[in-house]
Point group: C2
């Protein structure tokens, strides 16, 4: 079975891309077959894996039924990890499909091929920082949402909104099977009270849904993209890289439990 | 004259809201009359000033011509600072005005009253993390864009995109008078090489456009919103608060020079 997971949170800068790229790479390093889809017009996941941003290479064409997702898949420098890249043209899709029929299901339809083919163990979607049409398409197309969550006050505020939106997508019938892969605490700095307060707040509120592993704030993590590599290969022995490898194991366990 | 400044950057989490809230407050503390408009459906600027998020209180109604901006203005706890709050309903405006005529000029039209009345010395707009309709409306309605910029690699990537978009808005005639108030380096941590590299990169590329003041990473800054206050009143003696007060002076000087 293929596990398709959207990495999303409308709050900006909470480590969605860093999590999508490093989780995908860590799963590939564990011999899983992984496809990462960059759904953000900023294309940070694309450059984070050292791939050129080429006009016309994004999922835009597949969302407009001009080609299939399979046509857009590119290899990366990590064996077992493939990518559908992004580029700025993707920003135009929000207005282009806003008024059309079934505008929430464009991605779900485009992914039917790769879902059915059983070629991948995991498909990971990196979402932009908004609740616009691209993120809604991602939430309509998957069964699991992984929510990176900075240990900060504004991020806490956004969490309740996101949970309400997921509930609405479930109860309105847009995606009754949508659930949470989990909430991941990121950029955790144990020296600050604020981080401790936010973590205990989230664990009280969401319990088991919160991953045990927390990603520490680490400058190696933020350096890696400038070398076009995930931190799990750029600096494999560091705290951030180890935490993302632990995340891959914890996620595989959760997927096995169902 | 009223200076209207949009605080924007499509990259998420670069301190747009933190900058908009603290700059607005620091200007008010210098006896300027300031209006802050929260254009982000996340409504972080609203809660960062301790204001309740109330359905129907956002600028949405003014963008749909159902009322004026003046009807929506609320006082804050800081003398001289008023706010047009936000709430989640504002997220709907992207689809609602996407197909209508003049959809880029809705905000410019709505602000004509406050612009002409000379009631305010500064109007500050906090933008969401995207290049969608709300941010484009902000860039079509102002003469100055202030760009907060985290000292990180992904933020550097987004800067060239943003500069291209501003150029297009100018040359296409959407807003020929649009310019930069400046680029502000935020969450600066002098202990990391990455920060030093990014800062020297940006200063080489943009020279005078970059503000002299840099905002240091400081846990007091990220604690302040949980108390519903900007850091300039919550912890006025700290490095982050002082830096935002220096920013207010530097901006006033730039505006005086024209
Ligand atoms: N554990 C970490 N330690 C230090 N820096 C980190 C960590 N995780 C992410 N970062 C840095 O924080 C910034 C924000 O992360 P990232 O871009 O992945 O977030 P995002 O949620 O994808 O942002 P956006 O909302 O713009 O899509 C980046 O510059 C990244 O390098
Ligand atoms: N100088 C600073 N030192 C420490 N933390 C900071 C600083 N500036 C901002 N922060 C924190 O970083 C996070 C991101 O800042 P903020 O929310 O203002 O960015 P933003 O660009 O408005 O995000 P979004 O893209 O979601 O609108 C917040 O939790 C904020 O409290
Ligand atoms: Mg991202
Ligand atoms: Mg913000």
């Amino acid at each position: 079975a293929t596990h398709t997971i959207a990495v999303g949170n409308q709050k900006g800068g909470v480590a969605k891309t860093t999590t999508a790229v490093n989780l995908a790479a860590a799963l590939a390093l564990e011999n899983k077959r992984v496809l990462l889809i960059d759904l953000d017009p900023q294309a940070n996941a694309t450059s984070g894996l050292g791939i050129e941003k080429v006009p016309g290479s994004s999922i835009y064409a597949a969302l407009m039924d001009e080609c299939t997702v399979e046509d857009l898949i590119r290899p990366t420098s990590i064996p077992g990890l493939e990518l559908v890249p992004s580029e700025l043209e993707l920003a135009g899709v929000e207005v282009d499909i806003a008024r059309s029929d079934q505008h929430l299901y464009r991605l779900a339809k485009a992914l039917r091929g790769v879902h059915g083919s059983n070629v991948y163990d995991f498909i990971i979607l990196d979402c932009p920082p908004s609740l616009g049409i691209l993120t809604m398409n991602a939430m309509a197309a998957v069964k699991q949402l992984l929510v990176p969550m900075q240990c900060e006050y504004y991020a806490l505020e956004g969490l309740t909104t996101l949970i309400e939106v997921v509930d609405q997508l479930r109860t309105s019938g847009v995606n009754p099977g949508l659930g949470f892969a989990g909430v991941l605490m990121t950029m955790y700095d144990s020296r600050t009270n604020l981080a401790e307060q936010v973590v205990s707040n989230v664990r009280d509120y969401l319990g088991e849904c919160v991953f045990n592993v927390m990603i520490p704030r680490s400058v190696r993590v933020s350096e890696a993209p400038s070398f076009g590599e995930p931190v799990v290969t750029y600096a494999p022995g560091t705290a951030g890289a180890k935490a993302y490898k632990d995340l891959a194991f914890e996620l595989m366990e959760r997927c096995a439990r169902g």
